[in-house]
C-alpha cells in the first residue's frame, strides 16, 4: 500500500462527523470558504446518508497548497460531533492526527489511540450556558466547533466574520449570536490547547480567479446560457439540485421585465418516462429542452431514447450518476452508467455521451450538449456523477463570450421551405448523415409524420428491407460525423517519452492526475488521456496505438469504459488493464497508484 503522508501547512484534511439534520452544513461550508478566502486551494466533499434526519453524515475538507482536489484518503483532524460514530471516526484518523470531540459527557475509555491526539471541548455544555432556546443550542454548537477550528488551524477571524455577514446580510442578531459562539469555541481552544496545530492555514495566493461551485449548479447555469427554455424532470438524488438551480437562475434571469411572466417552462413530470417524452415533444417543436436524472431514471427513459435516436429528435439529458444496480446507494458516487448511456434502448442505438470531469466542464458541456443535439438531431447525454454534481469544487472562473449564438443545426424555415421542390425529412442531402428538419407551426410544406416505426428517406412508413437499411446505415454515418464534432480528449504527456499510458474518464481526473505526480516522483512515467466524449474521436485510437500498455481507470465493477474501447476501437485486448474502484466514495489517488502498482508487479512476475 502507498504510504500515507502526514499533514502540514496548507496541506491537510479535516473531516467533520455530524448528525443529519442538525444544521451542520452551513458551518462546514463556512469553514471551507474561509480557507478558500485565505488563498489556499480547497475542496469539500459530502458523505451523506439517504435520510432526512438522524443518521450520521460527514463532510471532508481538503486544503492543498499544490492544488490537488481529489479525496486524499487521509484524515488529519476529525471533528467528531456524533457520539454514535465515535469508534469508526477515531479509527479513520491517520496516524499523527487529531480527534476533537464534545466532552460535555464522559467519553468511553476504550476510545483512545496512542498515535492520535484526543482533544475534548465541552461544546454542548457551553452552548447550554450561553443560549436559551434548544434549537439555537444545537445550531450554535456547530458554529462553536468552527470557533475551535479557527484557533487550531489559525484561520483569520476577520475572514470568518466577513463571510458570516455576507451570509446573514442584514440579520444583525444572527450574526452576533454566531460570532458569540465562534468566540466561545475559539477562546476555549486557545486556553486549553497548543494553538495552532502543526497542520494549519497560512495565507497564500492560489485562489484568485477561482470560484467554489458544485457541478449541478454549473450545469444549470450552462443550460441558461445555452438558451434552454424547457425543462422536464422527476426528482431523484443526486440530480435534483440541477433542475432546482435551473429554476432559481430562471427566476433571476428569465422574467419578462414588463409582464413578470416566465421565459421558460419547467414541468415536474409524473415520472421519468414522461419527463423525457416532454423533452422530446418540446425539442421536436423547436425549443431547447432538457431533463436531469440519475441511473434509475435513465432505465425508465430507455424506450424513448431509442425513439429520439431513430426519429432524430434532439434531446439533452443530464445523468448525474449514483451507485447502482437498482436503488443502490443513492447518496454515493459511481460511474456505472457509461455503457447503459451510450447504448441505451433496444435495437441498434448509440448515443452521444459527454463526460465532464468537474463543474467547469459541466458548464461548458451543457452548452455543447445543446449545440451537438441540434446539430446532430439526436440525444446527447451529459454523464456527470454525484461527486462532481453535489460536492463543492474550486474551479477557474467561468468565461462567457457574448458573441456566442446557438447552433440550431439544419432547420428549414418558411422561406427555404417555400423554395424547395419537396421536403424529405430523412434524406442525406449533404453526405454527413444529417438530414434537414422542419418545425411545426411554420409551413405546411414542412409537414411530415414522425414515427418510430420503419420509415424511408422521405419519412414515409416502410417495411421494405432496402429502405429501412438505408436509414439505419445513414444513422451510423451520422454517428461517425458525431465523432468528429464532440469534445476532443485531453492528453497530458509525461515528462519523458513512455510506452505506458493511463486512460480515464470524468470524475476520475483529479485522482488520476495526483497519482501520476506521485508515480512520476518515483520515476514511473505515464502519458494520460482523458476521454471526454462518445463516440470516441480518432485521438483515442491514436493514443491506444502509441502505447504498449494502457491502464484504464474507472469507477465501476465491470470495466465499462474498457469494454467500450474493445468494442469501438481496434485495440488489442491484452493492452488494456483495468483499475477499478466502485465503493461509492470519490476516487482517491492512493487507490489509483495501488492499482497501477499491482498490475505492474503482476506483469513483472509473469
Amino acid at each position: 500500500m502507498e504510504e500515507v503522508k502526514k499533514g502540514g501547512v496548507n496541506d491537510f484534511v479535516v473531516k467533520l462527523a455530524n448528525v443529519n439534520g442538525t444544521g451542520s452544513a452551513s458551518a462546514n461550508g463556512l469553514l471551507m470558504k474561509s480557507i478558500f478566502r485565505m488563498g489556499v486551494p480547497v475542496v469539500g466533499k459530502n458523505f451523506f446518508p439517504s435520510n432526512i434526519q438522524g443518521l450520521p453524515t460527514w463532510y471532508e475538507i481538503r486544503a492543498s497548497k499544490d492544488g490537488y482536489l481529489a479525496r486524499s484518503g487521509r484524515v488529519d483532524l476529525m471533528v467528531a460531533m456524533n457520539a454514535e460514530t465515535y469508534a469508526r471516526d477515531l479509527a479513520d484518523v491517520s496516524s499523527g492526527g487529531v480527534f476533537l470531540y464534545d466532552s460535555s459527557w464522559p467519553r468511553d475509555r476504550s476510545l483512545s489511540r496512542k498515535d492520535v491526539r484526543i482533544l475534548g471541548v465541552p461544546l454542548s455544555r457551553m452552548m447550554t450556558e450561553a443560549f436559551e432556546v434548544a434549537r439555537t443550542r444545537i445550531l450554535m454548537k456547530n458554529v462553536a466547533y468552527l470557533g475551535v477550528l479557527v484557533a487550531l488551524l489559525d484561520i483569520e477571524m476577520d475572514v470568518v466574520q466577513q463571510l458570516l455577514e455576507e451570509t446573514f446580510a442584514s440579520k444583525r442578531k444572527l450574526i452576533d449570536a454566531n460570532m458569540q459562539a465562534i468566540k466561545l469555541g475559539h477562546d476555549y481552544a486557545r486556553e486549553h490547547f497548543d494553538c495552532p496545530l502543526e497542520f494549519r492555514v497560512e495565507r497564500m495566493d492560489a485562489t484568485t480567479g477561482h470560484i467554489v461551485i458544485d457541478g449541478n449548479t454549473a450545469a444549470a447555469l450552462g443550460c441558461v446560457y445555452a438558451g434552454a427554455t424547457f425543462g422536464a424532470w422527476y426528482p431523484i438524488t443526486p440530480s435534483t439540485s440541477l433542475m432546482d438551480a435551473f429554476g432559481a437562475f430562471c427566476k433571476r434571469y428569465r422574467k419578462d421585465p414588463e409582464t413578470g411572466r416566465n421565459r421558460y417552462c419547467i414541468v415536474q413530470a409524473e415520472d421519468e418516462l414522461a419527463a423525457i417524452g416532454m423533452v422530446i415533444g418540446a425539442s421536436w417543436a423547436g425549443a431547447r429542452a432538457f431533463t436531469s436524472t440519475s441511473g434509475p431514471g435513465v432505465s425508465l427513459m430507455s424506450e424513448f431514447l431509442g425513439y429520439a435516436y431513430f426519429t432524430e429528435i434532439p434531446v439533452v439529458l443530464f445523468d448525474v450518476q449514483r451507485v447502482g444496480p437498482s436503488t443502490g446507494m443513492p447518496t454515493r458516487t459511481q460511474q456505472g452508467d457509461i455503457m447503459p448511456a451510450a447504448y441505451a434502448s433496444h435495437g441498434d442505438t448509440r448515443h452521444v455521451v459527454l463526460f465532464p470531469a468537474d463543474p467547469g466542464e459541466c458548464f461548458e458541456m451543457a452548452v455543447s450538449a445543446f449545440d451537438l443535439a441540434e446539430r446532430l438531431q439526436t440525444p446527447v447525454i451529459v454523464l456527470s456523477d454525484l461527486d462532481i454534481g453535489m460536492n463543492d469544487w474550486m474551479c477557474r472562473e467561468f468565461q462567457w463570450d457574448d458573441s456566442y449564438r446557438p447552433d440550431r443545426g439544419k432547420v428549414l424555415d418558411a422561406e427555404r421551405l417555400e423554395k424547395i421542390a419537396a421536403f424529405h425529412r430523412y434524406a442525406d442531402v449533404d453526405g454527413d448523415g444529417i438530414p434537414y428538419r422542419s418545425l411545426p407551426g411554420v409551413h405546411s410544406k414542412g409537414a411530415y409524420f414522425t414515427r418510430g416505426s420503419g420509415h424511408n428517406a422521405r419519412g414515409a412508413y416502410t417495411e421494405d428491407a432496402g429502405e429501412y437499411k438505408e436509414v439505419l446505415d445513414r444513422l451510423r454515418r451520422k454517428s461517425d460525423t458525431a465523432a468528429t464534432l464532440v469534445p476532443e480528449p485531453v492528453l497530458m504527456s509525461a515528462r519523458k517519452p513512455t510506452r505506458l499510458g493511463v486512460l480515464s474518464v470524468g470524475g476520475c481526473d483529479q485522482a488520476v492526475r495526483e497519482a501520476l505526480d506521485r508515480l512520476e516522483a518515483r520515476g514511473v512515467a505515464l502519458d494520460y488521456l482523458r476521454v471526454r466524449a462518445f463516440p470516441f474521436s480518432r485521438a483515442v485510437q491514436d493514443f491506444l496505438d502509441d502505447h504498449d500498455q494502457v491502464f484504464v481507470v474507472e469507477q465501476n465493477r465491470d470495466a465499462q469504459l474498457r469494454s467500450m474501447l474493445l468494442i469501438e476501437t481496434e485495440v488489442a485486448r491484452e493492452k488494456l488493464h483495468s483499475v477499478l474502484r466502485y465503493d461509492g466514495l470519490p476516487l482517491n489517488p492512493g487507490a489509483v497508484v495501488d492499482g497501477i502498482d499491482e498490475i505492474m508487479r503482476r506483469s513483472q512476475a509473469a
Binding site: V212, V224, Y225, G227, A285, A287, G441, A447
Partner: protein
C-alpha cells in the same frame, strides 16, 4: 397503404373555407385500417371540423401513441406535423410540444389500451395539468393492433370474439377525467357525426384539456353479439345527455332554441357553445351531478353521451396559465432575451468566492 398518397385532384368547384382551402386539403394519407373500423369515421369528423373552423393545417400538431387508433393521425390533415410516439406516452410529447409552442392546436389521438392501461398515468396527469389540447380516445374495448385482447375499458360481462367473458370492472375515461379536474369532458360515438363534429370544434377552441371519449367499434375483434362496444349495442344504448353546438366567434347565433332548454356558454376566444339539454335537469357545469348521471346511466345499461362536463373560466386556467409562462411561444423568444450575458455571469460568480 398510408404511403400511397391519394391523387390530389383539384376541383375548381369544391367549396373553399375562410382560409381558401377545400375539404380535401384537410385529408391525409390513405387509411390502412380495416374497412368499417370506427377510427376512420373519427378521422373524417376531424377533417370536417377543422375545415369548418378555418384552421390552417400547419398550425395543428397531431400526436399519438401506438395502436390502430394511434395510426390515424397519418390519415387526416396532411399539412400538419404529426408525431406517432411510443405506446401510452402521447400525453408527454404533447405536453412538450405545447410547452414549447403554445400557439399550436394540439390534437391527440389515443386508444383505450394506450390511455387506460400503459398510459393511464400520463393520461391522468395531462388532465390534471389542464394541458391545452384536444384528446380523443378511440375506444373499442380491445387492443386492436395486437389482435383483440380485452382492454381496461371492457365492460363486465362483455364477451370476447372467442367467447371468454370480461369480469374486471371497466375504467371509464369520462369519470376519471371529471374526478381529476378535467374542464371539458365529453363522450360520443364514431357513428354519430352530427354529435361528434361540433364536440371536436368546441374541444379545439376550449382553453385547456378537452377529452372526448369516442366509442369507436373494432369491426374485426369486437363487433359481435355480446360485445358492449359493437355498433349495434352502442346505437341501441347511447343516450345523449346534453347536445353541444359550436358557434364560432364571427358567426351570429341564428337557430332559435326553446327558452329554458338551451344554455349558452361563451368561450375565451368569443365563440359559443350552445348546450341543449336533452336529458331532464342535466346540468353540465355541475361536477358531481355529471358523475352521478354517467354512473346511473351505466348502471342502467346505457351510455351517456354529449358534452357531459364543461368549465369555461375567464382566467388562464391551462398549464401555461398556472406556470405563468409568457404569451409568446417559447420557440419564438429571441436568444438575446434568454441569455443573461458575460457581465451577469461575472456578477453572479462574485458571490462564489
Amino acid at each position: 397503404m398510408s404511403f400511397i398518397r391519394k391523387p390530389l385532384i383539384l376541383h375548381a368547384d369544391l367549396p373553399r373555407n375562410g382560409v381558401g382551402l377545400t375539404l380535401r386539403d384537410y385529408e391525409g394519407g390513405m387509411s390502412t385500417l380495416c374497412a368499417g373500423c370506427g377510427h376512420d369515421s373519427v378521422s373524417s369528423a376531424i377533417v370536417q371540423a377543422c375545415w369548418e373552423l378555418d384552421i390552417e393545417p400547419h398550425r395543428v400538431v397531431k400526436m399519438s401513441g401506438i395502436g390502430c387508433s394511434s395510426k390515424t393521425p397519418a390519415y387526416f390533415l396532411r399539412g400538419a406535423h404529426g408525431m406517432n410516439s411510443v405506446h401510452g406516452r402521447m400525453p408527454a410529447v404533447a405536453t412538450g410540444a405545447m410547452g414549447a409552442n403554445r400557439r399550436l392546436y394540439c390534437i391527440g389521438v389515443s386508444g383505450d389500451g394506450d390511455s387506460l392501461s400503459i398510459g393511464f398515468g400520463q393520461f391522468a396527469h395531462a388532465v390534471r395539468r389542464n394541458l391545452d389540447m384536444l384528446y380523443l380516445i378511440e375506444n373499442n374495448g380491445v387492443y386492436g393492433l395486437t389482435k383483440g385482447q380485452f382492454s381496461a375499458s371492457a365492460d363486465v360481462g362483455s364477451k370476447a370474439k372467442r367467447g371468454e367473458v370480461n369480469r374486471l370492472r371497466p375504467i371509464d375515461p369520462v369519470l376519471t377525467a371529471i374526478t381529476l379536474g378535467g374542464t371539458f369532458v365529453a363522450r360520443s360515438f364514431s357513428g354519430d357525426k352530427a354529435q361528434l363534429v361540433p364536440l371536436i370544434q368546441a374541444g379545439l377552441r376550449h382553453r385547456g384539456f378537452a377529452l372526448i371519449d369516442i366509442i369507436s367499434p373494432c369491426v374485426t375483434f369486437n363487433d359481435h353479439e355480446g360485445s358492449t362496444k359493437s355498433y349495434a349495442y352502442t346505437r341501441k344504448s347511447s343516450r345523449e345527455a346534453v347536445h353541444a353546438d359550436f358557434v364560432p366567434a364571427a358567426e351570429e347565433i341564428t337557430v332559435d332554441y326553446p327558452a329554458g332548454d338551451a344554455r349558452m356558454v361563451t368561450m375565451h376566444d368569443g365563440s359559443h357553445i350552445v348546450l341543449r339539454k336533452t336529458a331532464d335537469d342535466y346540468d353540465p357545469t355541475d361536477r358531481l351531478a355529471a358523475m352521478e348521471h354517467v354512473e346511473s346511466r351505466h348502471a342502467a345499461g346505457e351510455i351517456a353521451t354529449g358534452l357531459l362536463y364543461l368549465e369555461e373560466s375567464e382566467d388562464d386556467q391551462d398549464m401555461h396559465g398556472t406556470a405563468g409562462t409568457v404569451e409568446e411561444p417559447l420557440v419564438e423568444l429571441p436568444f438575446e432575451s434568454l441569455n443573461p450575458g458575460a457581465a451577469a455571469l461575472a456578477e453572479y460568480q462574485r458571490r462564489l468566492r
